[in-house]
Each structure stands twice: as structure tokens, then as C-alpha cells.
């Protein structure tokens, strides 16, 4: 199954770029246009994706072809993803410190071994490190807290 999914993903990605690419103008050999390289690359990817998918379909019973997706993997990527998305929104509406705490606390939930107290200590430690590197060291302009007015 692994290579079937992989091949399909490659084809989908290539199509996403192929369709607009045709509109950029492929040009000619002596005067290549903006769409030239993207179209060639996308078409090559589609052919390779078909090959990968087909060979994966033939060997679908093989041991190495199993996709190991289980609930704990879903948990890992979901919490880390939510942590990053939350950070992206919190940094502009709330500021650097709340966004950092959010990212640390939510991503720690990805691992069932995390405990709230050590996580909060880690969040405090990260605030210190980030303040030292980005505020003191690099004089970043991102505000520590955003005032709601």
C-alpha cells in the first residue's frame, strides 16, 4: 500500500503544479518560457508516480509495503500541528510569551508521558531562552505581550 499511496500523492502534487504551469507559456527550445521547466518537471513526476504506484500495487502484499498509521501517530502529528497553528495566531493577537506557552503545552500533549508541572517548567525555561536569543541577542521586534487595545 505504501507505494500506491506515495505514487498517488506524487501525481496529485504534480497536477497541482501542471495545470497553472501550462498557462505560464511553455515557450520554445530556443526561447524557453516561464512554464517550460515546471511543465517538464510535473509531467516527469506524473510518469514516475504512475510507475511507483503500479509497482507498489504489484507488491502490495509485501512486508515493507505496510503503512504504519495508528492512533498514536495521529495523536503526535495532530497536537504538534495544532500547537504550530495556534502559535501562528497567538503571536499576532496575544504576543510572544503567550504564543510560546501555547506551543509548548499543546505540543507536549502529543506524548502521553508528559506531565503538567514539568511541562510548565519547560515553558518557563523556553520563555527565558527565547527572550535571551531573540530579544536580547537579536533585538527582534515581535512584542512579548500584545495589549488588547
Amino acid at each position: 500500500m505504501k507505494d500506491v499511496v506515495g505514487g498517488l500523492a506524487i501525481i496529485a502534487f504534480a497536477l497541482l503544479f501542471l495545470i497553472p504551469g501550462l498557462g505560464y507559456g511553455v515557450g520554445s527550445m530556443s526561447q524557453p518560457g516561464s512554464g517550460g521547466l515546471p511543465v517538464v518537471a510535473a509531467v516527469a513526476m506524473i510518469l514516475l508516480g504512475l510507475g511507483i504506484g503500479a509497482s507498489g500495487f504489484i507488491r502490495r502484499g509485501d512486508e515493507g509495503q505496510a503503512v504504519s498509521i495508528n492512533m498514536s501517530r495521529v495523536r503526535h502529528i495532530t497536537f504538534v500541528g495544532v500547537a504550530v497553528i495556534g502559535f501562528a495566531f497567538a503571536i499576532e493577537s496575544l504576543g510572544l510569551i503567550p504564543a510560546t506557552v501555547f506551543a509548548v503545552v499543546v505540543s507536549s500533549l502529543a506524548d502521553p508521558r508528559s506531565r503538567i508541572l514539568p511541562t510548565l517548567v519547560l515553558a518557563g525555561f523556553m520563555i527565558l531562552i527565547i527572550w535571551l536569543i531573540f530579544k536580547v541577542g537579536l533585538s527582534s521586534t515581535a512584542p512579548l505581550f500584545v495589549r488588547p487595545f
Binding site: Y24, M29, G33, L37, S72, A83, L122, I130
Partner: protein, 499 residues
């Protein structure tokens, strides 16, 4: 000569020494730390380097890279887990030595051999890179195009062995690299309606997503068991016999490492395997390998460190990196406004020679850090991973945001993180994607120029002696990788039939 007149003065400033120390210490730390490799670490620091002087930035990033090869050996020996792919072979004899109570001796061997490998690798870099530049300065667009094609194809197919997957991911990288305004025609490509994408995607976002997020999330929940052996400095004093048995394997390992390190896509892991096989072949009693022989640690450890140094040759002399880590470092230069290519050493002698001088300083610092401070590094092994990765995620978010104060880019990093994570789950190689992204614009520019000069006739590019031979070499390389893959499959099938 430039090494003494330009390089040493540039690398011996207080600032340069501090960044070198920070780099190698961080590198050792990362090498020891489970779940985070040098590639992720170099990517994590990429946003910070935008604020630094390019020489200081490169000194620090490079220090992380070769420092991790030293640190990785410590985990291989004490825990039987490779810190970096280049340290995997070190487990074979290093861990049995530790089990036998000779952890100190194995660590000492690893440190000294690493230093020998590093030193030989730097010497090769120092002499070879400037001579490659003299050839490369005569390159036209056709030659440059062919060199990029060879490097990309070799790097995408050799390491992972799957030609189709490597090339497909290379294509994905090239496509992502075309996002933004086309400098030739002014056409805005693939902005998908987002004005933030009109200037293209910054390399930091691609590298951080693919390697930092992808790697960190993959490592959550991985169980680590096994006993960590205690080491004391007192146990590390070697005997004269130990010194003798580590010397020649280290020299031979350095030779393999220097050779393979400079080639695109080959890198430290293959160099260590070759070195180990060599030592086993010439040993009087090869059956003792795997039971804790000094030679089995010395050769591979010299090989991976030599390879880490010579990997800088194509990156600094041609501007064409052959591995993901050197690609990220080249990205740091690009983000600092420095144009990579053969003119780099000519136009920025301080950058090249200063970096080379810092390699010498860094390797000496690593020897000092590794021998007396071994206890400190061994205790890092006890930090639980669930107290590390949330901090890594937070610092990555702040780093990305600080590049352009853009939340959009934080979300974009997550998108690349998802590509990195699912790519790993589906066994799709990610190095080709990064290399395609970084070199794609250079490939397109040189191909266009070469085609315009040749009047649209690709045949006229292929008959140029250097360009033509590089293209032939590319085809030979492809056939060889496919052929080796088929042979391996057939011998596996035969072994199954026999069993």
C-alpha cells in the same frame, strides 16, 4: 598562503572563536541527543543566522555539522544507537567494547580517530577546493547546467537506492523552487493567490518543515531501552598498543571518507561501511570484528569525520551542495545575500579561508570537549524526549516568525512539516526535495541561457566536452544505480529460494 594571511586572522577573533565553540558544543549536544540530528539542528538555527555576519553564521552551522559526528559516536558506543547515520557502523565494535568494560577506551579511540579524520579532510578541502575553482571559472552556462544535473541526479538516487522515488521528489523540489516571480519574464508563478508567495519560499521554511518538524514528530513515542554505561576520564588513558592499533585504520578511514565525502549523494554513511569492510578484509583474524575491536571503531570514525569536511568541497568551490546539510548551509549564505558559485572563493576569500581555519580550531575544541567532559555528555543521554520536543517546536516557531514577522510563514512551515512527516511514513526521500528546491532556480537559469546560446539545439550543449561528459556520467550513474538495485533484488530472491 591565504590560509595564514586571511584565514587565521578571520577565525581567531574573539567573536569567531565564540561562535565556533558554540557550534561544536551544540553539535556534540545534538549528536548525543536522541531524536534530533545535525540536519534538523542546522535548520533550526537558520533563522538566527539571518542576523549574523555570514562568516560567523557559517562557522557556527558547520561546527554543529561536524561536531555532531563526534557526539554521535558517544551514543553509538554507550547506547548502541547511532547518533547520526555516519555513526551506525561504530556501534558494531564500540558497543561490545563498552559491554566488556572498555567504554573509556572506545570513546578515546573515537575521539582521536575523529580528529585524525577531520584533519585529513580539512587538508584535502584546503588544497582541492581552490584548484576546482580554477577549472570551474571557465564554465559556461552549458557546463554549469550539466554539473547541476549530475549532482542532483547522483544525490537523489545513490543514497536511497530508489531511482523513481528520488527523481520524483527532486521534481517536487524543483517545482516548489519555481514559486515566485520569474526573473526572466516577470510572470508570477504558483502564488496560489497568496501575496506572501510572490517573492518565493525561503529555504529556512522548507528545511525546518522537512527536517525539524518531520524528524521531531517521528521520534515522539519511540522507546529507548538499554543500559547506559558509566565512563570515567581515568578509564580513557590509552596504552601504547591502543595508539598503534588505531593509527593506520584511522588513516585508511580518512582516505575513504575524504573521497566519498566530496561526491554528491554518497556521504559519510557509505564511507564508514567501506572503511569497516577494508579493515575487516586486511585483518589477520576478521572473525574478531563485531566483538569489540579498536580498528572497527577507529576506521569508521575517521571516515565519517573526513567525509563531513570534504562535503564542503562541492558546496564552496562550485556552489552545488551534494548533501542536505551542506544545502541548508548554502541556504544560510543565500539568505545573507551571498551568491554561491565558483566566484565565492575569489570574491570572498575571507569567508572561505576563515571557514577552513575555523575547522582546524573546531576540531581541536572538539577533542578538548570530548575527552575531559565525557561525563557531561553521557548524562545528556538521560534527558527524556518528552521534555525536549515541545521546547524544540516552540523555538522553531519563534525562529520562523522572526525572519519576516510573518504568521503566514509559520503556517507554511507546518505545511512542509506535513510533507516531511508523511514523506517519512511513505518512505519517500526528502533530501532530493530540498536539493531540487535549492538548485532548481540555478538549473533553470543556466538551462535557459545555454539553450538560448545554442539556438534551441540541445545537441550543441551535449557535444561540448565538459558538459557532454557530465551528462554521460549522469546517465552512467543512473544505469549503475538501477542495475545494482536489480542485482540486489535477484540475489535476495535467490537467497529466499535456497531457504
Amino acid at each position: 598562503m591565504e590560509f595564514f594571511t586571511i584565514g587565521l586572522p578571520a577565525a581567531l577573533t574573539i567573536e569567531a572563536l565564540l561562535y565556533c565553540l558554540a557550534g561544536v558544543a551544540l553539535g556534540t549536544f545534538i549528536g548525543v541527543l536522541p531524536g534530533l540530528g545535525p540536519l534538523a539542528a542546522v535548520s533550526l538555527l537558520l533563522p538566527v543566522t539571518v542576523y549574523l555576519d555570514p562568516l560567523l553564521a557559517l562557522i557556527m552551522l558547520a561546527g554543529i555539522y561536524y561536531g555532531a559526528e563526534y557526539g554521535g559516536a558517544i551514543v553509538s558506543i554507550l547506547l548502541n544507537m547511532p547518533g547520526t547515520p555516519g555513526n551506525a557502523i561504530t556501534c558494531l565494535d564500540g558497543y561490545p567494547m563498552a559491554k566488556r568494560g572498555e567504554a573509556g577506551k572506545a570513546l578515546f579511540t573515537a575521539a582521536i580517530s575523529s580528529f585524525i579524520g577531520g584533519a585529513i579532510g580539512i587538508l584535502v578541502l584546503q588544497f582541492l577546493a581552490p584548484s576546482i575553482v580554477t577549472v570551474a571559472l571557465s564554465f559556461g552556462a552549458a557546463e554549469y547546467f550539466a554539473a547541476i544535473v549530475f549532482s542532483l541526479v547522483a544525490a537523489s538516487t545513490i543514497t536511497d537506492g530508489s531511482v523513481a522515488k528520488g527523481l520524483a521528489m527532486l521534481g517536487a523540489g524543483i517545482l516548489i523552487g519555481t514559486i515566485g516571480t520569474d526573473p526572466y519574464t516577470g510572470v508570477i508563478r504558483y502564488s496560489f493567490g497568496q501575496f506572501e508567495l510572490m517573492d518565493g519560499v525561503t529555504i529556512a521554511l522548507v528545511a525546518l518543515g522537512l527536517f525539524a518538524i518531520g524528524e521531531v514528530v517521528m521520534a515522539i513515542g519511540v522507546k529507548r531501552d538499554g543500559k547506559i554505561f558509566a565512563v570515567k576520564l581515568r578509564d580513557m588513558y590509552p596504552s601504547r598498543k591502543d595508539m598503534k592499533s588505531l593509527f593506520w585504520p584511522s588513516i585508511r578511514g580518512s582516505a575513504w571518507g575524504s573521497f566519498f565525502g566530496a561526491l554528491p549523494g554518497v556521504g559519510p554513511a557509505i564511507a564508514t561501511i567501506t572503511s569497516y569492510a577494508t579493515e575487516k578484509n586486511i585483518a589477520k583474524n576478521p572473525e574478531e570484528f563485531g566483538t569489540g575491536r579498536i580498528e572497527g571503531v577507529a576506521g569508521p570514525e575517521a571516515a565519517n569525520n573526513a567525509a563531513a569536511q570534504t562535503a564542503f568541497i562541492p558546496m564552496l568551490s562550485l556552489g552545488i551542495p551534494g548533501s542536505a546539510t551542506t544545502a541548508v548551509m548554502l541556504g544560510a549564505l543565500i539568505m545573507n545575500g551571498i551568491i554561491p558559485g565558483p566566484r565565492l572563493i575569489v570574491n570572498e576569500p575571507e569567508l572561505f579561508w576563515g571557514l577552513v581555519a575555523s575547522f582546524w580550531i573546531g576540531n581541536v575544541l572538539l577533542l578538548v570537549l570530548n575527552l575531559p567532559l565525557i561525563g557531561v555528555w553521557a548524562s545528556i543521554l538521560r534527558i527524556p524526549y518528552h521534555l525536549l520536543f515541545p521546547g524544540i517546536i516552540a523555538i522553531m516557531c519563534v525562529g520562523v516568525y522572526s525572519i519576516h514577522n510573518s504568521s503566514f510563514e509559520v503556517l507554511l512551515v507546518l505545511l512542509f512539516g506535513l510533507i516531511g512527516y508523511f514523506g517519512r511514513l511513505l518512505a519517500l526521500p526528502l533530501t532530493p526535495l530540498l536539493l531540487g528546491f535549492l538548485l532548481g532556480p540555478m538549473l533553470e537559469e543556466n538551462l535557459r541561457r545555454a539553450l538560448i546560446l545554442a539556438g534551441g539545439d540541445f545537441g550543441r550543449i551535449a557535444v561540448r566536452p565538459i558538459a557532454g561528459s557530465l551528462l554521460v556520467l549522469t546517465v552512467v550513474c543512473l544505469i549503475a544505480v538501477v542495475g545494482l538495485g536489480l542485482m540486489r533484488k535477484r540475489s535476495n530472491a535467490r537467497a529466499e529460494q535456497a531457504a
